[in-house]
Structure formats: C-alpha cells, structure tokens
C-alpha cells in the first residue's frame, strides 16, 4: 500500500507535467515592477492584449532597479518600469530601444490616521517629510522606506533631497528600510503605524490598511510616470523582438490606452494614459 503511494508520488510530476504541457505558445517575458503587478493592472489589461494578439505575457514583477538589471542581462523581452532617469540611462547604454512613456499615476504619503507628525492635508511633500523627520527624532513617529532600489524608493530619495535631508544617516532609528516590495512594506507600515511613500495604484488595491490613510497628495513632485522599452535585440539576439514590439505598440495604441484608462479600483481610475515617445524631458509639473 505504502509502496504504491510512493510509486504514485514518483510519477506524479510526469502526470502533472503532461497535463500542463502547453509548450509552443508564443510568449514574451515582461520585466516590470511590483507596483503594477500588485495594483492588479496586469491582471486587467494583459488578457485583452493576449486576446488581441495571441501572445502570452509572462510578468516578472520585481523592483525597477532589478527589472532593469535583469533586462540588461537579456532576461526579458520588454520592460515596463517607473524611473525616468534610469530608463534614459538604460536606453543610452544601448540595452533598450523603442522607449515610450505610456501612462502615469501618482505617489501619496500614507500614515496613521492619528497623524502625530501633523502632515495631513499638506500639498508640499518636502515639507511633510521635514515634519515627519522632526517628529521622528523626537521618537514619536517612524518612516518606513522600501529600501530596495525600486522606482518608488528612488522617488522617495529624490523627495528627501528636495526636503534637504539625508535620513539614511539615521537609518534604524525613526527611519527604517524594509528592503521589500510595496505590498510587504505597506503591511509593515500598517503593523507599525508608520508613515511611508506608496504609489496610488498599490494603495488603492491594498486590502490590509488597518488605520493607515492618505495624508499627503497632489504635489507635482509626486508624479509617477511609467515607461516601456523593448530589450535591444542587437545586444540579445534571442529577444522575441516581434512579439515584444507588438506589446509595446499595443500599449501606446488607442486600444491599449483605453484598456489602461478603464482600469478602476473601487471606482477610482489608477493609471492615466499619456503617450510620449522619443526625446522626453522630465516634466515635473503634471497633476
């Protein structure tokens, strides 16, 4: 009896493998960020693309930094991330081509609803961070950073620079680095009652908020543009260029933009279409 159970276990992988044998499919690997994945955007728009083209999109959701590093090694066909400066460098170094800005959303600073730092309602993100730092040094609040080189982390550091502060010197006290994805960081912030910077998309679809709420929004510096690029097939000949380009083209097409615009969480639109290809100055003044 036991012998039969083991025999069964030994051949189970073969059985399961046979059931799932769906090789020969056309697919691309998309290196992207946790924010797009966790917000549910991909689950909403990718089936539309797959239906239109028959190309399966396999999403690897990591931080922007890691997504770009993976893609630079050739481990991906197309990239969708949110860090304009890094994207520009990626293209300049010859790793990516056909770069376009495709949509944007914005960042918000969330924190405990009791708001001991008193930042609720501010429209100036830099001022908010200064107040959080001040309250933090008095031991009254904690700020939780992603600390993972993601697009959100890079944006947060830019905001600290704008506030004229370098909190990493105080890392471990009131400034804590999670080294985790957006969702995991929000979970921690909810548990700690800490302030953190998050993209609105992840925030709106995040289900475990406890007493966190949005305290700071609307600063132009909180603008969060996403860009798409195809991995350079001259560098990496195995790149499924036609399929990757098909995805990039669909994203900037009217159909793709409509799909992005129509994604809503609790009735709120998360991503705003905004196509710009070629040379792009970094506009700081968008809503």
């Amino acid at each position: 009896m036991i012998r039969w159970m083991y025999a069964f276990l030994a051949i189970l992988p073969l059985l399961l493998g046979a059931v799932r044998a769906d090789a020969g499919e056309r697919f691309i690997v998309l290196q992207s960020t946790t924010s797009t994945q966790n917000s549910g955007l991909f689950d909403y728009i990718l089936p539309k693309f797959e239906q239109a083209t028959g190309i399966q999109v396999r999403v690897v959701a990591v931080g922007t930094g890691q997504a770009l590093r993976n893609a630079a090694r050739g481990d991906g066909d197309v990239v969708l991330v949110h860090s304009p400066a890094d994207e520009a460098r990626f293209v300049a170094e010859g790793h990516g081509i056909l770069h376009c800005r495709v949509f944007y959303n914005d960042f918000v600073i969330v924190g405990p609803n009791l708001d001991p730092a008193g930042v609720g309602g501010l429209r100036d993100a830099a001022e908010a961070l200064r107040r959080i730092a001040a309250a933090g040094r008095e031991g009254r609040v904690v700020f939780l950073s992603r600390g993972d080189e993601s697009g959100t982390h890079k944006k947060e550091r830019a905001l600290w620079r704008a506030a004229g502060l370098d909190p990493t010197a105080e890392s471990g006290s009131w400034y804590r680095e999670a080294g985790a994805g957006m969702g995991a960081t929000l979970n921690m912030a909810a548990g700690l009652g800490a302030y953190t910077l998050t993209d609105r998309g992840t925030w709106l679809s995040f289900a475990n908020r406890r007493d966190l709420e949005v305290l700071v929004e609307g600063d132009p510096r909180l603008f969060n543009p996403y860009g798409v690029m195809v991995v350079n097939p001259k560098r990496h000949p195995h790149v499924r260029f036609a399929e990757a380009k098909a995805f990039r083209d669909w994203l900037i097409s009217e159909a793709g933009q409509r799909a992005v615009a129509s994604y809503r969480v609790h009735g709120v639109q998360l991503f705003h279409p905004d196509v710009r290809c070629g040379d792009m100055p970094t506009p700081e003044a968008r809503p």
Binding site: M5, A10, V29, N38, R73, N187, N208, H238
Partner: protein
C-alpha cells in the same frame, strides 16, 4: 481575531470551490518539488553511500561541504542558479530562466546536499553494522551500494521526505529563477508572498492552509513508513 476567522472562512471557501487557479498553483508546486526531490535522490543517495563507503583524498572536504551546504539559504541557491541560467550566464543559451525547469534545477541544487549528507550518515551506520558482512559476501566497493540502499530504504524514504519538505516550503530560490509568473511559474510559496504583498491576507492564508495540508500529508507518510520500518528493522531484542 475577527480578521483571522474571516481569512479562514475565505480560505476554506476557496479550497472547497475548487478554484482553478489555486489548484493550478498547487499542482505546479507539487510537480516542481517532487521532480526536484526525485532528481536529488537519484544523485544524492548513491553519492552519499559512496561517500560513506570510500576513502579517497578530498573525501573529508566533500563530507564537510555537503553538511555545510545542507543549510544553504534558498535565495543564495536562487541567485546562483539565476546567474547560471540568465541569458548572460554560461547556460543562458538554453533559455530555461523563468520556466518550471529552472525551478526544478534550483530546488534540486537546494535538496541534493541534504539528501547526500543524510544518506552518508545513514550509510556510515549501516556500514558499521553490515560492512564486514557485505565484504565477506563478496559485495565490496561499488557493489555494496545497491544492498546498502536497499537495507536503508525505510530511512531513505524519511531522507527523501525531508528533502521534499524543504523544497516545497522554500520561496527564495523559485522566486528568483521562476519569476512568479502567473499560470507559468507561480507556486504556493511565491503566490503567498505575492498575495501577502497585495494585502490579500485571506488568499495567502488559503494557500498557507494547502501548504500545511501537504506538509501534514508528508509527515503522515513518513510516520507510516517509520511504522513499517519498525516491523522489519527495529526488532532486535
């Protein structure tokens, strides 16, 4: 408390309703970890017995190495296999990264040292008991290995289950080399990490319950095997 109860309710609902995505994830987890365990056993058991049996220069180093590698963190294995399979890596041309095959490779790397080290320990105790007997029966050297594996079969099942338990529960390695791609490389542990990331605690808990059930089943099997082992093995007066 309320949250936990709600999560459990949802978890049970998902399990009972036979959610296709959930079952796909569970099936892939089993497939990958069983395949990895099987390969690790095919490699590690003869290797472990050979380590117990033979004295050769460098043996001590191998013994220490396998024991040390037993505790290798899965992410380190993941990173190593990622660098190997990445397009820029030595095996990049195979195009295996972000496929179930890559996950099987990573878990095999993770589990093989465990199987090897535990088999070596078992082999040494079997040799203390049967070494002279086998030599007197003309089963020396390599020819002793099949008999030792057979005599240790019940203990080896426990070894294999230990390896499987480690494989099915790890997240770091499969996350890195599989990429947690929906419908392709998403397994229970990476799905739990993702759902937790989305704050979908209930779904994460549902998967956790399945993982727990699998772990319980594995341990029940190990226990049954031990009972059977007792019948044939532990009957010395």
């Amino acid at each position: 408390m309320d949250e936990l109860a709600r999560a459990f309710g949802l978890a049970l609902g998902l399990l009972v309703s036979g959610d296709r995505e959930l079952y796909g994830i569970v099936a892939l987890s089993l497939e990958v970890s069983l395949a990895a365990t099987l390969i690790a056993c095919l490699l590690g058991m003869p290797a472990g017995m050979a380590l117990a049996l033979f004295r050769f220069p460098g043996r001590r180093m191998l013994v220490v190495a396998t024991s040390a590698l037993m505790g290798l963190p899965p992410v380190v294995v993941g990173l190593f296999v990622y660098l190997l399979l990445s397009r820029a890596g030595p095996l990049g041309a195979l195009g295996l990264l972000y496929t179930p095959a890559a996950m099987v490779i990573a878990q095999t790397v993770l589990v093989t040292p465990i199987v090897t080290a535990l088999t070596r320990e078992l082999g040494e105790s079997l040799l203390a008991e049967y070494g002279d007997f086998l030599a007197a029966m003309g089963r020396r050297g390599l020819r002793a290995i099949p008999t030792l594996l057979h005599e240790g079969r019940h203990a080896l099942v426990t070894v294999a289950l230990a390896g499987f338990g480690r494989a099915i529960a790890e997240v770091g390695a499969v996350m890195m080399v599989g990429g947690n791609i929906r419908h392709v490389t998403r397994v229970m542990t990476t799905a739990i990490a993702l759902e937790t990331g989305k704050g979908e605690i209930a779904l994460a808990l549902a998967l956790g319950l399945v993982l727990l059930t699998v772990a319980l089943a594995v341990n029940a099997l190990a226990h049954l095997t031990r009972l059977r082992e007792a019948e044939l093995a532990h009957a010395r007066a």
